[in-house]
Structures are given as structure tokens and as C-alpha cells.
């Protein structure tokens, strides 16, 4: 049984975290989406504080049942405290002025299309050079906190709004072009919504590939042993054994699906960002090897967006190579599943609108964006936005066309020369990012303007 002192420690941790969350919530009065999360977390802490208090009062020393009930409550509350801390860490410091708030409302519109319901986006900066996305409502569901989430988001005006917590890399967050990676993260939102369709589409492929590798898998598992839980995966290569479990295959498939969404929306601009984000990475339990992902994206572009793939502006981006993947059977097997899942997954994306699909519209859009950038004007100039679909289309087009402008060596050199930035391309890059940021914000401004007509 925990001592009185230990229980006091737990109680005071709960109460101080409750106060801290309240302090942070007061400090960020302008960011409503995080208020909902903070409110829910504080309610949860209050509930567990009361639970622990009740168990302590009811506990009678020497009565086995009441002592074991207290032990159980102590364990549960301690675990919940850790979870609250994790959630709080994810939505702390989301008011940093370095965050590109300008694009968040436009991004929320895109996420709402993918989620099929209204969502808000909150960004947290991380020193890990990575993008991530977490649905707060789903995280609460996993923790069985749904009641508190519904209480926090309940709105008489309409449906509950989910909050998507996105992690952006902290030390290049000002590079707007890098946010092409958001297309991949939003792909996960779509993957969640299309979970059943994805499973059905790739079910046969997974079975076929696993059968082909049956013998090799058996040999491999005999040597490595099968870890019973994820936490046993610390030993080298052990995670590859886990690949045989459905859950892991599912993770790689979802990643591949999100990659294809990004490829469909921003084309090789995503490949360019992937190169930047994946420096030194080879793949892990959640992601297929980078070389395999590159290969799949290139195949998709070649087969489904050929006019984009053959555009000479992207030659350098396409030619890049990633480190060779490991040769063990698990990696080969997982990679084969992902590569063969390309077509079934691509078939699911046919209905996903992309500005890249129509060659003529794309060419006009690219020309217009380049003309604006040439003249130091935001690419949104003279664009009229009347609905969310147009926001999405213009958002991805501007990301694509601006990235293309940046990688077009001659054109970019001429841009730098025109404004005297030949020797200070970092200033030219900063100007390019500022124009794009302004344009992406304007999409939402224009939509609001239209809604007042």
C-alpha cells in the first residue's frame, strides 16, 4: 500500500498541474482551440483528485479489500496523471510567435475537407526535425476520456469541433515551402476516415506478399524470436520482427497512403520536402524506408500525374537518392507490401481533387504564381475565393508552384539578380516565404470576405 507521504505527493502533483494548466490557459487567451483542451485536462485532473481523495477517506488499515482498492486507485490515478502530462506537453507553448499562425485557418479548412467535419489546428514546435499530427478527440478516446472531451467542445451552435495538434520543426518553421509536408499529415486524417476502404483495398496484397515470404519469415523469426510487446522492441532488428504483426503492416500502409495523398496534392514539392526532413533517416517501426517511399511516390507521379513527373524543373529533385534500405527479410517484405499496395491505394484517391490533375489549368496556375513572385507580389493576387474547395485548390497550387519556382535554377537566379540578391539568396528565400505566407493567409481572408456578401 502506498504510504501517506506518497499519496500526498500524488495529490500535490495533481493540484499543481491543475494550477499550471490554468496559468497557461490564462496566458494564451486568444487561442480558443487550446482552451478546449486545457479545460478538458483540468476537468480530468479534478475528477482524479476527487477519486483519490475518496479512496483515501474510505481506506481502513488492516481491511484487505479497502487497502487493495486504495492501491488500485493510486495506480490508476498515477497513470492518468502521466497521460495528462503528455497531453499538456503537446499543447503547451502553442502561442509562440514563431508559429506560422497565418496559415492555420486556411489549413483548418483543408483538414475539415479531409475529416468530413469542422476541425481546428493547433501547432506545437518541436526541436525534432519532424512533422506530426494527432487528433485530440481520438487521443482522448484512446485514453477513455471521451466524456470530458465532449463536455469541453460541446457547442450549442453546431457539431463538436475536433482539434488537430500538429508538430512543426522548430528551427525552420519560417520556411513556408516546408509546409508542403502538411499535405502528408492531412493524408493521415483522410486515412483515418477511409480506414475500412484502405483495409479492404490492400487486404489481398498483404496476404499475397506474406505468403511469398512465408519460408523466409519463419527462418527469421526462429533466429530473432518474436517480442511479445512493442516495448520489447528495443533490441536491434526486433522491430522488424514486429512487422509481421498486422498493426505494423497497417502503420506502413497508412504512411504510404499519406505519402500518396501528398504526392497527389503537391507532387514533387513533397519529394523535395521529404529529402529535407529525412536527412540521416532510413525508416523505423512507423515509416517504411525512405528509399522505398521515394520510389513509390515517383511511381505514382509517373503513372498518374505524368505531365508533372516529366516537368524538367523537377529533374534535380527526382534524381536524389535515399540511403539503401536494410536487406533483412522483414524490411523487404514490408517494402514489397507497400510497393504493391500503390495501385489499390491510388485507386482510392481518384476522387481527391488536386490542382495538379489538369495539365492546362496547372500550367496557367504555375505561370500566374511565377509572374507574381517575379514581381514581389503574393501569389494570391487577383484570385477570388468563394468556397472551401477553392481554398484547398489554391493552397496546394501555390505550394506546388512556389516550390517549383524555387527549384527552377535559371528563373530563381534571374529573380535574385533582379533585386540585387545574387550573393544573399537567404534574403531572396525569406522574401519568397513571406509572399507565400501572406498569400496562404489571404485565402481565408478572401473566403471570409465572400461570406459577408
Amino acid at each position: 500500500m502506498p504510504s501517506e507521504w506518497q499519496m500526498d505527493c500524488l495529490t500535490s502533483r495533481i493540484r499543481s498541474l491543475h494550477l499550471e494548466i490554468g496559468r497557461v490557459a490564462e496566458k494564451q487567451p486568444a487561442h480558443a482551440a487550446t482552451h478546449r483542451i486545457h479545460g478538458a485536462l483540468r476537468s480530468i485532473l479534478k475528477r482524479f483528485d476527487r477519486l483519490l481523495d475518496d479512496a483515501r477517506r474510505r481506506a481502513v488499515p488492516d481491511q484487505v479489500r479497502s487497502v487493495s482498492a486504495l492501491e488500485h486507485t493510486y495506480g490508476v490515478v498515477a497513470k492518468e496523471l502521466t497521460r495528462v502530462t503528455t497531453m499538456f506537453r503537446m499543447c503547451d507553448r502553442v502561442d509562440s510567435p514563431r508559429i506560422p499562425f497565418e496559415i492555420l485557418r486556411s489549413l483548418s479548412h483543408l483538414a475539415s475537407i479531409f475529416a468530413g467535419a469542422p476541425v481546428d489546428i493547433v501547432v506545437h514546435l518541436s526541436t525534432e526535425y519532424n512533422y506530426e499530427i494527432t487528433s485530440v478527440s481520438r487521443q482522448f478516446e484512446r485514453y477513455r476520456w471521451t466524456t470530458w472531451w465532449h463536455a469541453a467542445v460541446a457547442s450549442p451552435d453546431g457539431p463538436d469541433r475536433d482539434v488537430l495538434l500538429m508538430i512543426f520543426p522548430s528551427y525552420e518553421v519560417g520556411t513556408t515551402l516546408l509546409h508542403a509536408a502538411a499535405a502528408h499529415e492531412l493524408g493521415h486524417v483522410l486515412a483515418h476516415r477511409m480506414d475500412a476502404e484502405i483495409s479492404t483495398a490492400v487486404g489481398n496484397t498483404i496476404t499475397e506478399v506474406l505468403e511469398e515470404f512465408t519460408e523466409e519469415r519463419r527462418e527469421f523469426v526462429e533466429v530473432q524470436g518474436v517480442p511479445r510487446e512493442m516495448k520489447d522492441s528495443s533490441s536491434e532488428n526486433a522491430w522488424r520482427v514486429l512487422l509481421y504483426r498486422d498493426s505494423l503492416i497497417t502503420k506502413w500502409i497508412r504512411e504510404t497512403f499519406a505519402d500518396l495523398v501528398a504526392a497527389r496534392l503537391v507532387g514533387p514539392a513533397y519529394l523535395a520536402v521529404m529529402d529535407r526532413l529525412s536527412v540521416g533517416q532510413r525508416g523505423d517501426i512507423f515509416h517504411p524506408p525512405i528509399a522505398v517511399r521515394r520510389r513509390i511516390i515517383k511511381s505514382y507521379l509517373k503513372r498518374h500525374l505524368r505531365h508533372v513527373f516529366v516537368d524538367p524543373a523537377w529533374r534535380d529533385v527526382k534524381q536524389g537518392e535515399a540511403p539503401k534500405p536494410a536487406r533483412d527479410v522483414a524490411t523487404r517484405c514490408g517494402s514489397a507490401i507497400c510497393e504493391r499496395a500503390l495501385e489499390p491505394l491510388a485507386a482510392l484517391l481518384v476522387g481527391l481533387n488536386t490542382p495538379l490533375a489538369d495539365r492546362q489549368i496547372l500550367a496557367d496556375g504555375v505561370r500566374r504564381v511565377a509572374d507574381r513572385l517575379d514581381n514581389l507580389a503574393p501569389p494570391s493576387l487577383d484570385l477570388s475565393i468563394t468556397n472551401i474547395g477553392e481554398v484547398a485548390s489554391a493552397f496546394w497550387l501555390m505550394i506546388y508552384a512556389s516550390a517549383r519556382y524555387r527549384v527552377s535554377i535559371r528563373r530563381y537566379a534571374a529573380f535574385c539578380e533582379r533585386y540585387g540578391w545574387q550573393n544573399t539568396t537567404e534574403i531572396a528565400d525569406s522574401a519568397l516565404n513571406s509572399m507565400l505566407l501572406n498569400a496562404l493567409q489571404n485565402l481565408d481572408v478572401k473566403l471570409r470576405w465572400e461570406s459577408t456578401r
Binding site: N375, L376, A377, L381, Y419
Partner: protein
Amino acid sequence: MRPDQPLGERLVVEPFLDEDDLFKVSPASIDVHLGNRFVFLRRGRSVLQDPLQLSHYPSASDDPEAQGTEVFLPFGTPVFLHPGQLVLGHTLEWIRLPSTLTAHVDGRSIWGRRGLIVVTASAVQPGSAGTITLELANAGEVAVVISPGAAVAQLVFDEVTGTDLRGRRPPFGVGNKPSFGRYKKSRLERALLDQSVPNDRK
């Protein structure tokens, strides 16, 4: 500003949505709105402002983060500007002036009569691009509440001739948020100020 003109010769104001009313009310000016980023200057952060770097004391650098606190506030958030307070804001609009136009930033009288002084250094040069940093000060007796999205200032235009911008950098940074700008001494300033500094200050 006509869309049929080549873009390089056009005045760019983006977003500019109220084209129907363009120059209707004020034939030579357009209203501009407050953007979302502000720098609240803090006395505790720096002893003094000394862009000429003449004093012995540590002074604020040109970096807004070192000078004060930068914040992003959503449209509609009230910002309380107290008497005597100076805050940096910026225009929501991205402005790019062609070689044939110069502009001046003026506060709108409706705000000025309530104590808000919008700008103290108002010239916008031909070839400038980006959002314009606004110096917002309250010269009144009581606090003034402003907000991102509010039309607090106007741009008044003048035609100029003979400006050749080819190969020239835009006069100020091409940015999207309030900026202090780096103080560059003119040749005359260097001649007058640097050579007059007593030895013990060098």
C-alpha cells in the same frame, strides 16, 4: 492598379477586396488594415534605444525579439493601447509600389481624434514590397482599444518620375511582420558622428 497593366507597373495591394469602392471615398488614398503580429516594447528588456551606438550603455538590438515581445493575435482580439505606450504593428495588406509611385502612411482621422497616432515615419519608397510596419502610439488620456483587422491607417499616393529600379534591392526588408529595420549610418553620419566620438567611447 488595373489588372490589364503588366504586373511590374502596377500598384499591388493584397488582399484588396473592396475594389468597387476603390478611390471612391478618398480619390488619392486607400485604407489599410492592422495585421495580426505586434511587438510590445518592454522597458525591462533594454536600458535605452541607441541605434547610432553612441552610448556606453547596453542598448536594444534591431531584433524585435530582443526589444520586446512579439505576439500573433487573431482578428477581433482587443489590443489595449495605454496612454504613452508605443507598439509596433503592421499592415495586413502586402504593398508593392511600382517605380512610378511613392506613398505616405497616415492615420485615419477617426482614430486620431481618439488619441491613436498611427505612424511617425511615413514615407514608402518606389519599389518597396511587403507589409508596412506601423508605429502605433496612444497620445490620448485614456486607453484605446484596437484590433487586428481594423482599418486604422491609409496610404496616400504620389506619382514620381525617373526612378530606375532594375537590379536594386527593395528599400526595406520584404517581410510579413513588424520590423525594426537595421540602422545604416549615411556617409555624412559616419563622418560627423564616428570621427567625433571621444577616444574613451571607442
